[in-house]
Amino acid sequence: MKGIWWKMTGAVLVLYMIVGGLYFPLSTGIIDVQPIRLETGQQFELRITTYNTRLLDGGEVEVWLYDTLGHILQADLVHIDDNHRLRAEGIIPSQLKDGSNVRFLNMLVYQEGEGFSILPNALSVVHVVDSPHIAGTDWLATMPNKKPSQKITFPFRNILAETIRNTYFHVTLWFALMFIMLGSAIESTRFLLNRNPLHDSRAAALASVGFLFGILGLLTGALWARHTWGAYWSWDIKQNMTAIALLIYGAYFILRASVENKGDQGRLGAVYNLFAFVMLIPLLYIIPRMADSLHPGAGGNPGLGGEDLDNNMRMFFYPGIIGMTLLGYWIASLVARYNTLKALIASKLYSRQNSLEGDIKS
């Protein structure tokens, strides 16, 4: 086998990504809080549902409510129902700071030895005029620092939950597509420089594998969107622009197939391929960021961008990109060898046919 080392490296990296990406658990999280509206001076009992926690088996549990203005409160009593359900009791002080009428508070559930989970804007506190002042209840000055969990986990995000693992199985496809299309554009350039048909067949092969990755990226994205946004296709700018980018590449194959003359096919295809690659960058990376998109990591999704990828995820994400790229190059090398063989056989058949016809004529 030619180039066995880089091919095996690709296979091992992809395997490493799949196993690692599925093996490690998500960190703990808060899924639900009821009720979500409290009033000043109110005695409350919050019913909290958590994810991936071991509330019964782990250490002591604390529940905190806080915001950036300095409204900090710890629940007086915590009842644990089971490993994923708890109730927190306490009293909201009678005044909000800075004379606000309503404040959204974040919730933090901390368990000793297990780390903490945060639910941003978990509930609102509404200021009620003349709410009774209960002695001994006031906002706390500070919240003591909480020790994070020492375990290797992937981050928990409320919208994503376990689908944060799609970073390995969907996002790496798009990164690999970028490198594969870059390789295709480079081969096209080399073909334009020296007119060696080998480079043209390589460019076409790489583009076809990149196209495959793009289709798979769209399909996997649609499946995810169905269970996250509610529809397979929601005309989100990220979906639209990637679909356009793929259509542009689709036209590349049609163009190549519709030109009979081999020389013209290579030249036209190479020029169009460069155009398609130049269009790919704004369509995938620039335009979707200029408008609001629901896609994680894009604009208009506050609290997600940048935080989705922590160092534990990078441990598998970057090797995964390299692995998927190498896998793509492997498949493309097979397609390129097929293209070259096909051209060779076609020219042999052609010359034999010519010589046969020559024999008949003479």
């Binding site: 799949i18 599925l22 998500l26 994810y51 991936n52 994503l160 939950a161 376990e162 689908t163 693992r165 799609n166 199985f169 969907h170 496809l173 594998v209 495959l212 289709i215 798979l216 399909l219 996997t220 499946l223 995810w224 169905r226 269970h227 996250t228 498949i331 097979l334 397609v335 097929y338 063989l341 096909k342 056989i345 058949l349």
Partner: protein, 68 residues
């Protein structure tokens, strides 16, 4: 015949996926923090690459026929 078998297997997997999506929407796809969406994504990528390889093999077989 072999190709037909591969194709029917692939179609079966697709159908099972589809049935899961239709029948047990809340209980399966949304359960366990939507981990089934991740498994669906892996299945799609695997089947997609497999189909591409099957197509490539079919084209190579055609080429072999031409050579004879």
């Amino acid at each position: 015949m072999r190709k037909l078998r591969i194709f029917s297997t692939v179609m079966l997997i697709f159908l099972v996926n589809f049935a899961l999506a239709q029948g047990a929407e809340i209980s399966l796809w949304q359960s366990h923090g939507k981990v089934w969406v991740v498994i669906g994504v892996i299945t799609i990528v695997f089947i997609g690459i497999l189909l591409f390889l099957v197509m490539l093999e079919r084209r190579i077989s055609n080429l072999e026929k031409q050579m004879e």
